[in-house]
Symmetry: C2
Subunit: 437 residues, 2 copies
Amino acid sequence: MVEVISAIEALDVRFPTSLSLDGSDAMNPEPDYSAAYVTIRTSAGEEGYGLAFTVGRGNDVQVAAVRALVPLVLGMPVADAFADLGAFSRRLTGDSQLRWLGPDKGAIHMAAAAIVNAAWDLRARREGKPVWRLLAEMSPDELVDLVDFRYLQEALTRDEALDILRRAEPGRAARQAELLASGYPAYTTTPGWLGYSPEKLATLAAAAVNDGFSQIKLKVGADLHEDVRRLRLAREVVGPGIRIAIDANQAWGVGQAIDWLRPLAQFDPYWIEEPTSPDDVLGHAAIRRAVAPIKVATGEHTHNAVMFKQLLQADAIDILQLDASRVAGVTENIAILLLAAKFGVPVCPHAGGVGLCEMVQHLSMFDFVAVSGTQQDRVIEYVDHLHEHFVDPVRIEAGRYLAPLTPGLGARLHADSVARYRFPDGPAWRETKAVVA
Amino acid sequence: MVEVISAIEALDVRFPTSLSLDGSDAMNPEPDYSAAYVTIRTSAGEEGYGLAFTVGRGNDVQVAAVRALVPLVLGMPVADAFADLGAFSRRLTGDSQLRWLGPDKGAIHMAAAAIVNAAWDLRARREGKPVWRLLAEMSPDELVDLVDFRYLQEALTRDEALDILRRAEPGRAARQAELLASGYPAYTTTPGWLGYSPEKLATLAAAAVNDGFSQIKLKVGADLHEDVRRLRLAREVVGPGIRIAIDANQAWGVGQAIDWLRPLAQFDPYWIEEPTSPDDVLGHAAIRRAVAPIKVATGEHTHNAVMFKQLLQADAIDILQLDASRVAGVTENIAILLLAAKFGVPVCPHAGGVGLCEMVQHLSMFDFVAVSGTQQDRVIEYVDHLHEHFVDPVRIEAGRYLAPLTPGLGARLHADSVARYRFPDGPAWRETKAVVA
């Protein structure tokens, strides 16, 4: 009997992070880190796991969006799905009626991410490989076949993508060995949340340096005077050799961003992240021209490869921050990694949230082994939150992600965590006063 | 007792238009035109109506998105909402948790549109005015106060917006009289759906000219050979004096659009609409440079004012096609009209669908009276579908929209229609085989 996708379950799981102001920034004062948590089941009883990350309210809408996509792939033979995960992804993003809710953006696109990621997880489990290794061992042709070039080809042709992958092929084995031996550099956002006191910032920044991180990140953008104080304090604590990235989470207009950054420049911030609307390609380009040598970084809200293409075409960013579940999952992120390689822009993924560290490390590690071939100026964001809920949590040592060895994409939650944090009926929500919906 | 917003209801209403291939195009072969239909109720028993348009599957997600926004404004004093509908709109789009699902895009942004439009409808009903007249009788300062300039001001400052409105002020009365006397030009998409036979196309195109339309629109992009045949036929039927717009509904990549348009140019198409991804500002600019004198038009999927700003900054469009419920309703559309006026680009709104004609005419008429002050090269799309379900349907005469005289925004559906077409339980859906969810 042909094995088919027999069920796709989507659950509303929320963690009451607003109680501790973990994750607070200029636009997100009180997030409750959440996941539309997806399990794909096959008729042979196998499972794959994925999720779309949200910050609380609206996670129910995200779950509804996942459920709306389910009929598009339910009943599909697993072998067909795995034989062409590019087509599988396009089936989820290309439905003529559902795409009206995007197209290729917002809740319906993140829903595709959750299912696409679950399918990659399932395939990797079947092959007994972590996703980074599954990807890094595919041929250049197989990888390029996954990419939808329709809206990308004036920036990146199929042949150019093949060239990039072929150039990286000879060094794959050596870099895989290097990755297994010494991991991939991380930076930490743990010290820098806006809701933290100066004392907590100082203590955590010192601890980060102590733990081996060579880059930390601070949230800015709510109050200029406070930003100057916090950035001065952080620079004093970490010294001149540690990179300090700052992150405005879209708080500013274009001119305002340029003005705000002037008094912060003396503290040598490494990059300014999300200085303005994530949709504003030309605005990012204008800010970048004005604030150099501070680098401009964005991507966690960049909703698809077409937007990343333009950020690259317009010389709008120095750092590309892809996200595991904002775009349509692993498949679309392969296209984004190839675009970044073509334009020579380093990828420093957005992480934190729920399971984003677990998932996104696979993309950076694949990039290192088989695409860009370098870790130069690349770092994966790291936030020390909520990893205890994952069956295969990230492993960090001396400021580096260790390469995951267990099969899959890393998004599988402990069954206990799902039961406890299900919204609104899980015991964690019945017991807490943090219920906000 | 203070009158408050006491309830906001959102219903899933779908019309089985796929049965007749009305609305078929290169990306939407079989739409079921639908609405997340919103009623705002006040504690004094008054009601306002708005909707977000979708094309079938996913309308339930759209309804869920509306419901997720309801707590943000429920219980709010009506006087406070009306005193600052700009703040009311920002409350709906600015929630720190819900905006993660966008931000400012996709289902969550269209949900804001439905509620914002219902609030404008309610206010206009209270003042006994159609929305176009309510807006056209507000002072320049009141109008500018509605605009959120944060992400717009390097393209349009508050002072520039005020100047535009003040320059138009002296002529308001004369243009209002002109509008009431002779309406606003329309063009019709009725002949051009991709699923129609050549005979049906020819008959409907001839009828359109007969009915007084000076512009028609044809869908293209599925098959080049067919497009040449259909465009030749249409040109033969309507003659050289009628404008024929063509619409690819995002079917092409950038280079492909340029190539595809070359053999169509001989038939003198007036504009090419949505030649590529709606997110591709730079792609539209490249296409525009290559295909002139064919004009480039887009906007029905342009998800917010920041994207329109860039389309204008990049000289990417000749025609701006705003939509009543894609961006956050009347409020954000005021900003878009002001941006278009600043850049001197004519606005020719997207309509058709469910209630889009009814709503969007108010925006064009307001623009004529109080913003751009002209109808030159401006036309509102018209499609002769589903108007019978509206309490105040559009009135078309000799190819022109007559100015609506009844209070409100026009989105109120007949109660019978709502009952009959509610999905999935309404009798229209129980009786038909068109159930697709």
